[in-house]
C-alpha cells in the first residue's frame, strides 16, 4: 500500500541551528499518525515544511506517488494538506467565516463572494459538528471556540492530509473528546491525520502509528503504536545521553529562612495558588510543558506583570517587587532570560558594557561617570571565572558564539553578587560541551550559597541539576518533587504529575 504523503530525508537548518537532520515520515490513508518528541525536537518545523511554510534544505515530499514542492501555505492547502499550527493563527478582527476561508477566499474578479464564503465555512463547521455563529468576530470568541475555528479552517479545502500541532492544548476534556470523534470520522473517510501532542494518554487512545523525533532526527519512524508502551515512547523521546554523566549529589540545608517563598500566589496572567520556596544554596527546578506558565510566573515575580493574590516573601519578609531595577538593586535578584539575543544582551556593544551594565550605578563616580578601569576589572574577573572566549573585553557581544553569549548574559548577573538567580532555559541552542560547563557552573554557584530557580524544558538537564522540582501545568502547581537524581524514576514521576492533571481536567 503506497503512502498518501511521504517525507524522505528532510533537512532544515536555521542560522546556527540544525532543526531537522534527515527526517522520514510516511502517512497512509485512514490512519492517525502521532508525531512525538520533546520541546525543540523539531516537530513544529516538520509540520511547517509539510505545509509549505518552510522549504526544506534537502529531502523530498511525495504526495500520492508524485514528488511535490510547496512554495507557500496556499499551495499546500490546495493540494489537500490542512493544518492547525501551534501558534494562534487567526485574525481577531475578522469574522468566523472570513477566518475559515482566509487561505483562499472564494472570489469573483477579485471581490469576495460572501455567500459562497459563508456556505463553505458553514460546511466546514458542520463537518466538525460544532455550532459557532459565522458572523461573530473571532476576537470575541473563547479560546476553545477559536481552536475549533482553526480546525474548521484546516478542513475548509478538500483536505486529505490534516496536521494538528497540539490541538488540545487549550480545549477542555469534553471539547477534546468531541474533536477526537471528528478525527476518527475523518480517518474512517480515508484521510491521513498527523497528531502532535504532549499528552500521551490522548495519543495512545487515538493514534495508529507513531514517529518520534529527538534533536531533529527521527529515532522511531512510522512504527505501529500498538507495539510500544508509554514508557518506551518516553524513553525514546528524552534519550539517555545525559544520564551517563556523573551526578553530583548535594544536600541543602532547609532549616534556614528561604531566600524566596511564594504563598498562594495568583497573578494577572492566570496562575492560581502557587506555593513554593527556595533556600540558600538550593537549585529549585521549575518544569512544565510549553505554555505551562513558568517564565510567566517569573515575570510576575519580578514586577513585569501583576500579582493579584497571595504573598511573596524575600528572606522571610513580605515584599512587593515593583520592577526589575528594584529586584536587582534592593534584593539582588538576577534573571538570566531565555531569549538572550532579544532580552539578555546588547549585541552591538562590547563585552565590557554587557557585563558591567548591572553595576554601573555602583561603579559610577561623581562627574567622572563610570571609570573604564572599574568596568574592565569587573569584566575581566567574570571572563576568567566563566572562561568566556572573547578576543578582548572590547569584542562586540553579537560576534561571540551562542554558548559564550549565554555566559556573558550570566556574567552580568554574577557581577551584582546575587543571592537569588533565576535562570531560564540555560542551554537551549548551545553545544554539548558548553552545556556540561554550564551545568558545572550552576552547581558551583549553588555550592557558594546562591539560591537558584532553574527553568528548563530539558528533562535530563532538570534531573541532573535540581535539588527539588516544582511542576507547573496550565498555570497551576501540580507537585513539588524531591529529586532522587535517578532519571527513570524522576522522569516518570514528573510526567505522571503533568498527566494526572490533564486527566483530572478531562
Amino acid at each position: 500500500m503506497t503512502a498518501l504523503l511521504e517525507a524522505r530525508g528532510l533537512v532544515k537548518e536555521f542560522p546556527g541551528v540544525r532543526a531537522l537532520g534527515g527526517v522520514n515520515l510516511s502517512l497512509r490513508e485512514g490512519t492517525i499518525h502521532a508525531l512525538l518528541g520533546e520541546n525543540g525536537a523539531g516537530k513544529s518545523t516538520l509540520v511547517k515544511i509539510l505545509t509549505g511554510v518552510y522549504q526544506p534544505d534537502s529531502g523530498e515530499l511525495v504526495l500520492s506517488g508524485t514528488p511535490r514542492r510547496f512554495h507557500s501555505p496556499t499551495e499546500a492547502a490546495r493540494a489537500g494538506i490542512g493544518v492547525v499550527h501551534q501558534e494562534r493563527n487567526v485574525v481577531p478582527a475578522f469574522t468566523v467565516a472570513e477566518n475559515i476561508m482566509l487561505q483562499d477566499p472564494p472570489r469573483r474578479a477579485g471581490v469576495i463572494d460572501r455567500d459562497r464564503q459563508r456556505r463553505v465555512a458553514a460546511k466546514a463547521l458542520s463537518t466538525l459538528g460544532v455550532d459557532i455563529d459565522l458572523d461573530a468576530r473571532v476576537g470575541d470568541l473563547s479560546v476553545a471556540q477559536v481552536q475549533l475555528v482553526e480546525i474548521a479552517k484546516a478542513l475548509a479545502f478538500d483536505t486529505r492530509v490534516l496536521l494538528l500541532d497540539e490541538p488540545t492544548a487549550s480545549l477542555t476534556g469534553s471539547e477534546a473528546d468531541k474533536l477526537f470523534e471528528v478525527l476518527k470520522r475523518l480517518r474512517h473517510q480515508g484521510n491521513a491525520i498527523v497528531f502532535v501532542s504532549h499528552k500521551l494518554e490522548e495519543v495512545f487512545a487515538l493514534c495508529d502509528t507513531v514517529t518520534v523525533l529527538r534533536d531533529g532526527s527521527s529515532v522511531l519512524e512510522s512504527a505501529s503504536l500498538a507495539d510500544y508502551s508509554q514508557r518506551q515512547i518516553v524513553d525514546l523521546m528524552v534519550g539517555r545521553e545525559l544520564a551517563e554523566r556523573t551526578v553530583r549529589h548535594r544536600t541543602v540545608d532547609r532549616s534556614t529562612t528561604p531566600v524566596l517563598a511564594l504563598e498562594n500566589l495568583s497573578t494577572a496572567l492566570g496562575h492560581r495558588n502557587i506555593t513554593m520556596d527556595v533556600y540558600p544554596g538550593e537549585v529549585h527546578g521549575l518544569y512544565g510543558l510549553v505554555g505551562a506558565g513558568r517564565s510567566e510566573l517569573v515575570r510576575c515575580l519580578l514586577g513585569l506583570d501583576r500579582v493579584t493574590g497571595g504573598r511573596v516573601l524575600l528572606d522571610g519578609e513580605p515584599r512587593k517587587i515593583a520592577n526589575m531595577g528594584e529586584a536587582l538593586s534592593r534584593y539582588r535578584i538576577g534573571y538570566v532570560t531565555e531569549n538572550r539575543k532579544e532580552e539578555g544582551l546588547f549585541l552591538e556593544l562590547p563585552v565590557r558594557h554587557n557585563v558591567s551594565v548591572t553595576v554601573w550605578r555602583r561603579l559610577a563616580r561623581a562627574i567622572r561617570g563610570v571609570p573604564k578601569k572599574a568596568e574592565n576589572d569587573v569584566t575581566s574577573r567574570y571572563v576568567r571565572q566563566l572562561d568566556i572566549k572573547a578576543t578582548s573585553n572590547e569584542q562586540l557581544a553579537g560576534t561571540l558564539s551562542g554558548g559564550n553569549q549565554q555566559k556573558v548574559s550570566l556574567a552580568k548577573w554574577l557581577a551584582v553578587d546575587p543571592q537569588l538567580l533565576i535562570i531560564d532555559e540555560p542551554t537551549v541552542g548551545v553545544d554539548v560541551r558548553t552545556k556540561g560547563d554550564f551545568h558545572d557552573l550552576i552547581l558551583d554557584l549553588a555550592d557558594q550559597g546562591v539560591a537558584i530557580v532553574l527553568i528548563s524544558s530539558d528533562l535530563p538537564e532538570m534531573v541532573s541539576l535540581a535539588d527539588r522540582v516544582s511542576v507547573l501545568s496550565n498555570y497551576r502547581l501540580v507537585g513539588t518533587i524531591d529529586n532522587s537524581k535517578d532519571y527513570p524514576t524522576m522522569s516518570r514521576r514528573i510526567m505522571d504529575a503533568i498527566h494526572e492533571t490533564v486527566h483530572v481536567r478531562a
Binding site: G52, V53, S72, P73, T74, E75, A77, H85, E87, R88, N89, V90, V91, P92, A93, F94, E98, L102, Q103, D104, P105, R107, G110, V111, I112, R114, D135, G139, S142, V143, S170, T172, A268, L269, G270, R272, N474, Y475
Partner: protein
C-alpha cells in the same frame, strides 16, 4: 442570520462621533446667531471638507498595516506643484497635467512601499526621509512664487455644485465609499487587513505581508493624489505652503475615527466623521476669531487623549482571553 441593520459595520465610536458632530454643529449654529446656516458659509464648510477626508483616508490605509506615512503633506504639496507647473510652464492641457499628477503621486506611494520593503526599515523613518526630499522637490517646482497661470475655470471648479452639493465633496464621499468597499469586499483589501491584524497568521495563510505593506503605501499615494487634485481645483494658485498643514489632521482624522496604531483595522465612516468634527473646530476659530494656536492645541490634545484611551482599551482586551483559558 442577523437582520440587515445589525450588519451595518457601525461601531460605538462611530455613533459617538456622529453625535459630537451634530451637537457641535447645532451649538455653532446657535452661538453664531444663525450665520452658519447661510448657504455661502455652509458651502465653504463642505468644500473644505474634501481634503481633510482624503488625507485622513490616506493615513488610515497605511495605519491599517501598522505603518505610517509622514510624507502625506509633502507628497500632496509636490503633486499639486507638479500639476500647476506642468500647466503653467510646459503648456500641458489640464487633463494631462492632472493625470500626470495622479500618476506621480501613486508612484511616490509605491516608492515609499518599495523602500520600506527593501530597506526593512520602519515606515516612520522611510517616510520621514521621503517627506524631506519631497519638500525640496516642491520648493524646486514652485520656488517662492504662487503658480496660477492655468485656466480660471479649473480654479473655480471647486465652487461648482450639483443639486447644491459641491463636486469636490462628492469626490471625497465617492472615494470613501470605494475605500470602504475595497476593505470590506475585495480579496486584496481583506489580505491587507489580515496582515495588519496578525502578520504571523497572515503568513501561515499564504498572505504576503510585504505585498500588503507595498499596497497600503501605493493606495495612500493615490488618495493623496486625489487630495492634490481637489486642492488645485479649489485654490487660487499653488505655492510652497500647500500640504504644509496636512500631516497632523491626517493622523487626527484616522485616529479619532477609531483606527488603531497597531494595525488590523480601518474605520472609513469614523475617519470621515472625525474629519468633519475637525473641520468644525476650524470653522469655530474663524467664527469667533480665535487664535490659530488654540486650534492646534485642541487638536493635539484630542489626538493624545484618543490614542491613550484606545491603547488602554486594547491592553484590557489582550489581558482578557488568558483568564478564559484557565478556568478557576
Amino acid at each position: 442570520m442577523k437582520a440587515w441593520w445589525e450588519r451595518i459595520p457601525l461601531r460605538g465610536s462611530d455613533l459617538t462621533l456622529t453625535l459630537i458632530f451634530v451637537g457641535a454643529f447645532f451649538l455653532l449654529a446657535v452661538t453664531s446667531g444663525g450665520s452658519l446656516l447661510t448657504p455661502r458659509v455652509l458651502l465653504s464648510i463642505i468644500i473644505y471638507l474634501a481634503v481633510p477626508i482624503l488625507i485622513g483616508l490616506a493615513q488610515m490605509v497605511v495605519l491599517s498595516v501598522g505603518q505610517m506615512n509622514l510624507a502625506i503633506g509633502a507628497m500632496g504639496g509636490a503633486t499639486s506643484g507638479l500639476m500647476a507647473v506642468l500647466m503653467a510652464s510646459y503648456g500641458f492641457p489640464v487633463w494631462a497635467a492632472l493625470l500626470s499628477g495622479l500618476v506621480f503621486s501613486a508612484l511616490l506611494g509605491a516608492l515609499n512601499g518599495l523602500l520600506v520593503k527593501l530597506t526593512r526599515l520602519n515606515g516612520f523613518i522611510v517616510t520621514l526621509a521621503t517627506m524631506t526630499i519631497l519638500l525640496g522637490v516642491q520648493y524646486r517646482l514652485v520656488r517662492s512664487f504662487t503658480v496660477d497661470q492655468y485656466p480660471d475655470w479649473l480654479k473655480n471648479f471647486g465652487q461648482r455644485t450639483v443639486v447644491g452639493i459641491p463636486y469636490m465633496f462628492l469626490v471625497a464621499i465617492a472615494t470613501s465609499l470605494v475605500v470602504g468597499w475595497y476593505f470590506a469586499r475585495t480579496v486584496a483589501g481583506r489580505r491587507l487587513l489580515a496582515s495588519g491584524g496578525n502578520p504571523l497568521a497572515a503568513r501561515l495563510s499564504g498572505v504576503s505581508n510585504d505585498a500588503s505593506i507595498f499596497q497600503a503605501h501605493l493606495i495612500s499615494g493615490i488618495l493623496v493624489g486625489i487630495a492634490a487634485l481637489v486642492t488645485i481645483a479649489s485654490a487660487p494658485g499653488i505655492n510652497r505652503s500647500i500640504g504644509g498643514d496636512w500631516l497632523l489632521p491626517s493622523f487626527a482624522a484616522a485616529i479619532i475615527g477609531g483606527v488603531s496604531l497597531s494595525g488590523g483595522g480601518v474605520a472609513v465612516y469614523g475617519t470621515v466623521m472625525a474629519a468633519c468634527v475637525l473641520r468644525l473646530v476650524d470653522v469655530a476659530r474663524a467664527q469667533f476669531s480665535l487664535d490659530p494656536s488654540w486650534v492646534n492645541f485642541v487638536i493635539g490634545a484630542v489626538v493624545l487623549f484618543t490614542v491613550t484611551v484606545s491603547e488602554w482599551r486594547n491592553r484590557r482586551a489582550v489581558a482578557r482571553p488568558m483568564s478564559v483559558e484557565v478556568p478557576a
